[in-house]
Every structure is written in C-alpha cells, then in structure tokens.
C-alpha cells in the first residue's frame, strides 16, 4: 500500500493537482481537504493528474465527484489527466467515465467551453459516453 500524496501547482489555465498513491477510505479525507483548499476562479480548469494514482475505491470516487461539484460551483471545469488503466476501469464501472472529462496526454487545451455536464442543474444529461 502506498500512502497518498498530492502536490498542487498553479498554471495560467488553472491549478494542476498531481495525485499519487492509494486513494481509499483512509486517505480520501486528505485529498478532499487538499482540493477544498484550492481557490478556483471562473473559467479556470482544475486538472487532476492521476498518473501516480495506484488505487481508487468508492471513497476516492466520492472525492472526485466532490471536486467536480466544487469546480462547477466555481464556474470552472475539472479534467482528469493521465488516468491509469485500473482507475479507468473503476470510473467505467461506476459510470463516471461518461460524466468526467478524461484526457490521455499531459497537454491540456485552454478551456473552450463550459463543463460538459452540470451536476447541480436539473435537466442536463451526462456527456456522450459509451451509451
């Protein structure tokens, strides 16, 4: 088991948080606090770089959902970057691959459009997924 570590740096497009280690029931609170502390401005993109994320359970999923809501409330958007095979499978199981903006490469386009899915506003649909 690898302990969870997070580092956040600011870029012109918004903060980038690198998450490494195991994200489970025990470490989820720490990541939640780390992301809660990030000051997101309207139009910014919060990038969660998950290349070092070795494990993610339902508690970790909760943190990602909370981060997504936090971005929406701040009128920003959230992108998951460099998601490993294992975590991709978890996201697919819970259906969040349809909801989250998941990117492969390290380069992030400047935000062109608002978040694809709005968790807080009724009547919106999940983004185009496998369905």
């Amino acid at each position: 088991m690898t302990d969870l570590s997070t580092t956040t740096r600011t870029t012109p497009t918004g903060p980038i948080t690198e998450i490494a280690g195991d994200l489970d029931y025990h470490s989820a609170v720490r990541l939640r606090e780390a992301i809660r502390a990030i000051d997101l401005r309207p139009g910014e993109t919060l990038v969660l770089d998950l290349r070092g994320l070795t494990f993610c359970d339902s508690s970790g999923i909760s943190v990602l959902i909370a981060a997504h809501r936090q971005a929406e409330i701040a009128q920003a958007r959230m992108i998951l970057r460099s998601v490993t095979h294992n975590v991709t499978r978890v996201l697919r199981t819970v259906g969040l691959d349809q909801l989250f903006d998941v990117r492969d490469g390290p380069e992030i386009d400047a935000p062109q459009q608002p978040s694809r899915t709005d968790l807080t506003r009724p009547g919106t649909r999940p983004g185009t997924g496998t369905d």
Partner: protein, 445 residues
C-alpha cells in the same frame, strides 16, 4: 587542593614552617591571643553557651540557671533560683511525662539524654526543647544535684512538623491518586459498557439492512454472506431477495458510499425504496431510476449520498429462470455455468445511483439453467489487499476463481467465497456482501 612534594609550602617566603617546641617570640604572642579567645571567662562560657544550663537540687528546686535559658524563657534569675522547680518550667503534659518517665529513668540510670519536652516561657508560649540530664554524685557516691542541658528544638520541631505535613500531603496525594484511578477504572468500564451497547445497537441496525433469513424460492437456491469490517461502524452494504407474485422474485445488492450512521440511514432508505418500487413496477431500469430520483431529491442541497446497486428480477422460464438486471455503477455480476465456465454479466452504462437527477440505466438479460449460479458482490471482495505491497484481489482473480469453482450451487459458491474472504485476513478492510442465486443441477433431488 592537592599538593605534591615539588610544590612550595604555603609560607615558603617566611622560611620553614614552625615545629613543636621550636617557637619564635612572635608565635608566643599570637598563641596568647588564641588562648585568651579559647579560655575566656568560664563563667561567661556557662552563661552565654548556645544551650541552656540548669542545675537542680534532688528535690527539683532550681539552684543554678544560665542566661541563655533565662533569655529563652523570659524569666529573671531572681524569679527562678530557689523558687521554682524544674517541673514548674514544664507544660502540664511535660510535667506528667517528667514525673512518670524522666525522673524515674534519671534516678535509675543517673542520666537521661535527648528527651523532647516543651518548656513554658514566662509569657505562656511554649518552647520545644531537647533535655539531657545527669546526676552529679559526691565522692561517696551519693547523688548531690542534677545537671541539665536544654537544647532549642524549635527548628527541629518545625522540621518534624514539615515532615509530618509532607507525609500527610503524600498520603492525601496517594488517596487522590487512588480515587482518580478508581474513577478511571469506572470510566473505562462505563466506556466498555457503552461500547458494547453501541455495538449491540449497530449490530441490530446492520442486521436490519439485510433480510434476517434469506427466503428459498421454489426452483431456486439462494445463499448470502455479509462480512462486517468493523463492529464500531455500520457498513453500507445491503442485499435482499423477495417475491413479487406469479413465481417471480426480485433481488438486489448494493453499497452506499460512506460508512457510519448517515450511510446506514441512506442504506435503509435505499432498501425500502427498492422494495416499494419493485412492487409498483419490477422492471430493473424503472426501479433503479426511481431509487435515483429518491436519493437525488432526498439529498439535494445537502451532503450528496449515492450508492451502487444491481437490481434484478427472476422470472420462471422453460429452461429455469430468466434473469433481467440493471446496474447503477456496481461491479458486474458473475455468471457461473453448469459447464464449468464463468463470465461477467456486462451491465454497461449504469451510473452511480443518486448522483445525477436523470441518470440512465440499461438492463441486461440472461438465462439461468440447472447448474447455473449468478453471484453478486460488493467491491470489498475485489478490493481486498492480498499482498504486502498493497496488491488488490481484482476482477481477473475473481473471474479465475469463479471459473475454477464452476459449476457450483449457490451454497457452495457462498461457502467458497466466505473462505476466500477469510483468507484475506487484515487485507479485507471493507464491508462485503455476497449474494448467490442458482438452480440445482439437473438430476439432483
């Protein structure tokens, strides 16, 4: 200070040190001063000695007393000499002690040393002292008078009092420590009782999240297992199996995000919503959509609560039963066939239940024939740590395990998975629910 033979003597500049019987005139002069200092007036030495002196006749009358003692007691010599007895100087208790112990002892031994008594001064104050007395005998051996020294014991008494006070304090502290230790033990016992009661409550609550006993539908075999990770926290896993008439049955199994009482409350809500929705319309997609609406509305604006769940129906068919199921973000069920193969039942597109107001779910259908068993589980099983490096059990391992196990009845499957869970030991740190539904193999009773 250490001196060696090589060191010059301290008065080397004055010549060799004086030797006995070889004195210089200067030495004689200083010796005289020294003698004068030492052998000053013997009378003064008596009077001003740092202790009290007292001489009494054999009947106790005071014959002689020094100035030191008079000063301590505040008497004049005229008051005392020939007028007072030694016992007159004592307190009442002192008098008693003097009569019963001190005087007889003195008569017997001729001397008594270091007896603690209290003298009474002229102004009534008490002076703690130590008394030593010795009988002076004449050349014919008859007692003549008693000589007594009186030592001021105020400091010593104060010291003793301090010692006593300290001892009382120490005893007090020891008693308090004892009391607080008892209180601590009681608090611990109370905490233990509270904890046991809480665990009892939690166990009841936990049991309310799964059926007390699993029904055994006609033509089906059902078995379940629930692993509780912590006796101090209610887990969020749940399952159920219940009839909806016409030989049809509904089943579900799921996992509410989080732990503790809040999660348990959502679990309860989830379980009753699923049962009520199934009675209204058992279609799996409809049931999950209803649950989604309920959970989303219930927690809108508050702390979002959601769950993963598989809901399914069992309808009697020619071959056995038709299973129709839908998943809301839940790990796929495993289908173990009578021919010894196993596969995951894909239920694509299902999103976590309760997260979006209008999440869509899609249903999958399969046939259960004799010898087939379908297994539902929560992710405690696949996410159990199986190695020191934190390796998780995983989906592939589970499918391999199911393939090795197949064909297997529901009972055998749950038994085998229970053994598997137990083999994880501490690596299994999440609640885990398992529900297996199967049809007895052809030809079995």
């Amino acid at each position: 200070m250490c001196r060696t033979g090589q060191d010059p003597p301290p008065h080397a500049h004055q010549g060799p040190p004086p030797r006995r019987g070889d004195r210089s005139p200067g030495d004689t002069a200083s010796d005289a001063v020294f003698s004068a200092l030492l052998e000053d007036d013997v009378e003064e030495l008596y009077e001003e000695a740092p202790c009290g002196y007292l001489s009494t006749l054999l009947d106790g009358k005071i014959a002689k007393v020094n100035a030191t003692l008079l000063g301590w007691l505040g008497y004049t010599r005229e008051h005392v000499i020939g007028k007072m007895s030694f016992s007159d100087l004592l307190t009442i208790g002192g008098k008693l002690y003097h009569e019963t112990h001190f005087a007889p002892l003195l008569r017997m031994q001729g001397e008594v040393n270091g007896i603690a008594l209290e003298l009474k001064a002229a102004d009534g104050t008490r002076l703690p002292v130590l008394i030593s007395s010795k009988v002076k005998v004449g050349s014919d051996g008859t007692p003549q008078l008693i000589r007594t020294t009186v030592t001021d014991a105020r400091d010593r008494r104060a010291y003793e009092a301090e010692l006593l006070r300290r001892r009382r304090e120490a005893e007090e502290a020891r008693r308090e420590a004892e009391l607080s230790r008892k209180a601590e033990v009681e608090a611990r016992q109370q905490a233990e009782r509270d904890r046991n009661r809480l665990q009892g409550v939690l166990a009841v609550l936990q049991r309310s999240l799964v059926p007390p006993t699993l029904p055994q539908p006609e033509g089906l075999e059902a078995a379940a297992y629930y692993h509780t990770a912590s006796v101090d926290q209610v887990g969020g896993d749940f399952y159920d199996l219940f009839p909806i008439g016409g030989g049809r049955w509904c089943f579900f199994l799921g996992d509410v995000c989080g732990k503790g009482p809040e999660a348990a409350a959502v679990t309860s809500l989830t379980r009753y919503t699923l049962r009520a929705a199934a009675i209204h319309d058992p279609d799996p997609v409809t049931v999950l959509s209803t649950l989604n609406t309920v959970l989303h509305q219930h927690y809108i604006g508050g702390d979002p609560r959601y769950c993963t769940a598989i809901f399914g129906t069992l309808t009697p068919s020619d071959a056995g039963f038709t299973v129709r199921l839908a998943s809301g973000g839940h790990p796929p069920a495993v289908l173990m066939h009578a021919d010894g193969t196993a596969e995951y039942l894909p239920t694509p597109g299902g999103l976590l239940v309760g997260i979006l107001p209008n999440a869509r779910f899609s249903a999958a259908t399969c046939e259960l024939a004799p010898g087939d068993t379908v297994v539902l589980y929560t992710d405690g099983l696949t996410e159990a740590r199986i190695g020191p490096d934190g390796t998780r059990y995983g989906d592939e391992a589970l499918l391999d395990y199911a393939t090795d196990l197949a064909p297997a009845t529901a009972d055998k499957t749950v038994g085998a998975l229970t053994t598997l869970l137990q083999s994880f030991g501490d690596g299994l740190d999440d609640d885990t629910a398992i529900l297996a539904l199967g049809i007895a193999p052809a030809g079995s009773p």
